[in-house]
């Protein structure tokens, strides 16, 4: 179990996925989307799996990134690297604001607040249609040409996304292994103790939000360039919902599980939606099945399989990353 939960191994798996996707998929859009949502889901996982915060507001940051790309690229011709940097900064700032307000309440109240804020930002985008294009979104978002390299072709854009994905994924792995990441795990495990031991818990939660918001906004910006539109739907409740669903399906204990969750969801959605337009019904059933029988997600399933095969069922205690069954921030009546 130690080997399959090693962060270097997780990076290797992620790199392997990046290399394999073009071999098995015909659609460059789908392949890129898997990596882009992989980032957004990993960012959601940083909150859910590592900090114990179930955020229904990830679509806010995704949408913000998407609009930053749309607005800056179509109206101001800002260079793409600078645009990406700005989307990261704005995503982090908005995440700090949303996080700061939402963590004033705990447990389910926190969840309800994040959902309400996602509605707030949706209606903000909807109401200021001069800036966001309202229902139509912002059209004709170009793909980048950087230093003579042309990424406008779908598959070349895939490699542009892939490099960014691997870099950010490595940074996030590093974050989860750092003193910061370990402290987040401590907060997830026992918030009262973390505070009694001397950690300013709120500051850590807000910092986790900032990182999560930054990465999700980056994913949103990459997505807008991929599909050529910054649509209103990027900031919708539905985006928050699918990011969260992918996170839970993958498993909330480690970051590669997030890529697994994103990939599985996107592939299934791609196949099922062409077969049956009402496939969301099946998704609903799948969610219930996951909650009842597969609480540690796909990664948990793999862990169980591996431990059966190797029969080294003894748990290693080295553990923050090992027990994906996280605990929700204490939802008591305090």
């Amino acid at each position: 179990m130690k080997t399959i939960n090693n962060p270097i191994f997780h990076f290797f798996l992620a790199a392997l996925t990046v290399v394999c996707l073009p071999l098995f998929l015909r659609s460059g859009v789908l392949a890129s989307e898997i990596l882009i949502f992989g980032l957004a889901v990993a960012a959601c996982n940083l909150l859910l799996g590592f900090t114990g915060l179930l955020s229904f507001g990830q679509g806010i940051f995704f949408g913000v990134g998407s609009y930053v790309a749309g607005i800056l690229l179509t109206r101001y011709q800002i260079p793409v690297p600078l645009m990406l940097l700005l989307s990261v900064v704005l995503g982090a700032l908005i995440a700090v604001a949303v996080g700061w307000l939402s963590i004033r309440r705990q447990g389910v109240y926190f969840v309800m607040l994040t959902l309400a804020f996602s509605q707030f930002f949706f209606f903000l985008a909807y109401s200021f249609s001069g800036l966001t294009g309202g229902d139509n979104g912002i059209l004709d978002v170009p793909r980048p040409v950087i230093a003579g390299f042309d990424f406008t072709n779908l598959w070349s854009y895939y490699w542009f996304v892939a490099v960014i994905f691997l870099a950010v994924f490595a940074l996030m792995l590093r974050t989860t292994q750092s003193t910061f990441g370990r402290t987040l795990s401590a907060i997830r495990e026992n918030e009262a103790r973390a505070s009694a031991v001397g950690f300013p818990v709120r500051a850590f939660k807000i910092a986790a939000f900032a990182i999560s918001g930054a990465v999700t906004a980056l994913a949103g910006a990459l997505h807008a360039m991929l599909i050529g539109v910054a649509p209103l739907s990027s900031i919708e409740y539905h985006t928050s919902e699918i990011i969260l669903i992918m996170t839970i399906i993958g498993g909330s204990g480690n970051l590669f599980a997030s890529l697994l969750g994103a990939g599985t969801y996107m592939l299934l959605a791609d196949v099922l939606s062409t077969i049956w337009p009402r496939w969301l019904l099946l998704l609903g059933v799948a969610l219930i099945v996951v909650a009842l029988f597969m609480q540690r997600g796909l990664w948990g399933l793999i862990e169980t399989l591996v431990s059966h095969i190797t029969a080294t069922s003894k748990r290693t205690p080295n553990a923050a990353t090992e027990r994906p069954l996280h605990r929700q921030a204490d939802g008591g009546k305090a």
Partner: protein
């Protein structure tokens, strides 16, 4: 030699290099009051805890011990009065900030990070003294050598070294209680607050805990709330008896045992235990 002088002498090695000028009183409350709505759980309690002494707080259920304890840890805010640590007002300091000022606590119901290893629990507890350092997502956990070393020392002291790699939740009950105390020790505090340290323990474990608390006084000031009168009477330098939110009596264990008021408060039958 009076305990007072003894305390002064011992206080020299109680804290790190930035130790403030030794003050004979480690922790002091004056007219401390905590109200829940209109109910005064603690009213006008003045305590003076000498440095490197063992000070226990006892009283019947509902006497306000736990609320007083929470006020000292910073979990509840006093509605009136003040708390001073080494003559510095900390009445309105948050619980996590109090750790940096030198107060650490253990919980009545064991409160650990159950899925993290013993070593990691203690490392986190030690890191809690410099929490803002831990905000850096690029810094590896090995960066803080001091925290790693402290975790090692505390495990050694509490005989937990053999289980360093085990998840805290998998330890035996006695080991968990020791780790619970270790979590406070790892912060290298000047004052340790313990909430019923022997709660739920078997006879053998209680004896070990008693020795542990006694040994803590060499480097720390210990304040604890406890129901087990054997321990209280045995190891305390000073006992404060509370009733109905107020301080009833305070004195040495011998004085407390002979006090008629205390006997009445406890219906005469709960104060037992020999005096060392």
């Amino acid at each position: 030699m009076s305990i007072h002088n003894e305390a002064l002498k011992r206080s020299g090695h109680s804290s790190g290099k930035h130790a403030p000028a030794p003050h004979p009183v480690a922790l002091e409350t004056s007219e401390l009051t905590v109200a829940y709505g209109s109910f005064l759980a603690v009213r006008g309690v003045s305590l003076s805890v000498r440095r490197n002494s063992i000070h226990s707080i006892i009283g019947p259920n509902g006497a306000g011990k736990t609320t007083l304890f929470h006020a000292l840890t910073g979990r509840v805010r006093p509605s009136a009065g003040s708390i001073r640590l080494d003559d510095k007002d900390i009445s309105h300091t948050r619980d996590d900030d109090r750790v940096r000022l030198g107060i650490a606590r253990s919980f009545q119901v064991t409160s650990l990070f159950p899925n993290l290893s013993v070593q990691e629990n203690l490392r986190l507890a030690s890191q809690g003294r410099t929490p803002w350092q831990a905000l850096a997502p690029w810094r590896s956990i090995n960066h803080n050598k001091e925290a790693m070393a402290t975790a090692g020392e505390v495990m050694e002291r509490l005989s937990l070294t053999q289980v360093a790699g085990r998840a805290a939740g998998e330890l035996s009950h006695g080991q968990q209680r020791r780790l619970e105390v270790g979590m406070a020790l790892a912060a290298r505090p000047r004052v340790i607050l313990m909430d019923e340290p022997t709660s739920g323990m078997g006879v053998d474990d209680i004896e070990a805990m008693k020795e542990l608390i006694r040994s803590l006084a060499a480097d720390h000031t210990v304040i604890f709330v406890e129901h087990n009168m054997g321990i209280v009477m045995n190891i305390s330098d000073t006992v404060t008896v509370m009733r109905a939110g107020q301080k009833l009596v305070e004195g040495t264990p011998a004085e407390i045992r002979d006090d008629p008021e205390v006997r009445r408060a406890y219906l005469g039958n709960m104060i037992t235990g020999d005096i060392a």
